[in-house]
Subunit: 224 residues, 2 copies
DNA sequence: GCGATGCTTCGACCGCGGTCGAAGCATCGC
DNA sequence: GCGATGCTTCGACCGCGGTCGAAGCATCGC
């Protein structure tokens, strides 16, 4: 019998298969409609609607109404981080697949984490950005250096430093157990990767698949 | 309908009030018997036993039998990290208490996180250890410098560098949203704090309360 | 305005999982 | 060996919460 934050309530929200599927789908970063989420979860529309209102009550989702469509998205990067942590444990204790399939390999290499890139490529990128002093570690937080600011600006990546959301944030990568880059800069880089068609989002998956040309570009820009 | 790690299973294990209480109690770092956990959870012994076997099946706990006692503990620091992440979200979305009580203040200052110190004091300590170059940031991991090794050795803190568990690991602090020190070094420092009676564990709580003298010692050793 | 589309609310059903008392099993002390 | 202690297993009970069809509500296009 203890007081304190109601962790059972939050965990039980994630602990239903239909809701877990919805949240996993939303980890892709794009907000989805109730119908799309019903499809993802494999339940009827009324059932999905009931789940969504529970997730809203629990503070895990945000809602944007656009005409007769209602777009649901994850409430915050903190919620996304919690889900990544749960995925990490599920991966660790779950039945080990004997040989990871090609799709797992793609996921491990590069995938979307909420609104930024995750996976081995993303971890390597953050390492190089530190090496080149475009980003600085400061008190366990990450800061954009002045050379970094001009570097990203030259690449056409403009950062709104005044936004309430931090520019740079470390986010733990469950597959590698190291950090990759989140924050507005992390999001802007993923935007550029997709916009410039260096890579495409795998359908119905968080995997991000680079084209040979796009991969070369990415490596030249961020890993060289 | 998706495959992949069974996150609903893991989350639902945490999503029962009785089990959440048990896991929260085990975040204190000491393994507890089935009877103690039944008391913590506020359920009968048969009920507790059933919960514990589910948590074991789910891979969240480890079990050490000692005679007729059975000691349950968290399976890994990764599991502890997941629970911290869930606590963080529960804190963020939960009803804000108007004014945090004295006990919350103590928790915020210093508390046990699995087997090491967390809270503002722990975050400040890690900062200073970096400042004094006793610890080094290396590729987003933390490494003990040679001066650090002799420093801790002089304090009577011996580190087994050959253990499978990393010596230094960053662990996210939910109250401050910054990192504190985990790993064998983090655990050894907490051991010293308790062994030298600089602080005592608050009964039935994760809070760590420093004595005036102990606090001065701690600050001299780690914050000066 | 009126049918179509997207979603929520209502109501009824049902089964999974939490609950505990009683019984059973293992280890303890002496 | 035999009662005491610590825990698990068994069995029966029960209610919370997930499920969907039908109905209702809001916004759309034209």
């Amino acid at each position: 019998m203890r007081e304190g934050p109601d962790i059972a309530r939050i965990a039980s929200l994630v602990g239903d298969p239909a809701r877990a599927n919805m949240l996993t789908a939303l980890m892709g970063g794009t907000a989805l409609t109730a119908s799309e989420l019903a499809l993802e979860a494999g339940v009827s529309l009324p059932t999905a609607s009931s789940h969504l209102s529970k997730l809203m009550d629990g503070g895990l989702l945000t809602l944007v109404s656009q005409g007769r469509h209602r777009y649901y998205g994850l409430a915050s990067a903190q919620v996304a981080g919690m889900i990544e942590a749960i995925i990490g444990v599920a991966e660790a204790v779950g039945p080990k697949r004997v040989r990871p399939g090609p799709r797992d390999t793609a996921m491990r290499m590069a995938r979307v984490c909420y609104d930024h890139l995750a996976g081995e490529q993303a971890v390597a990128m953050l390492d190089r950005l530190f090496d080149k002093k475009l980003l600085l570690r400061d008190d366990n937080q990450i800061r954009l250096s002045s050379s970094g600011a001009s570097h990203f600006s030259a690449l056409g990546i403009e950062i709104d430093a005044n936004a309430r959301r931090p520019v740079c944030r470390a986010c733990l990568d469950w597959s590698v157990r190291r950090s990759h880059l989140a924050g507005t800069l992390g999001a802007a880089i993923l935007d550029k990767i997709i916009a410039d068609k260096w890579a495409r989002r795998e359908k119905d998956s968080r995997a991000v698949v680079f084209s040979p040309k796009g991969k070369a570009e990415f490596e030249r820009m961020f890993l060289a």
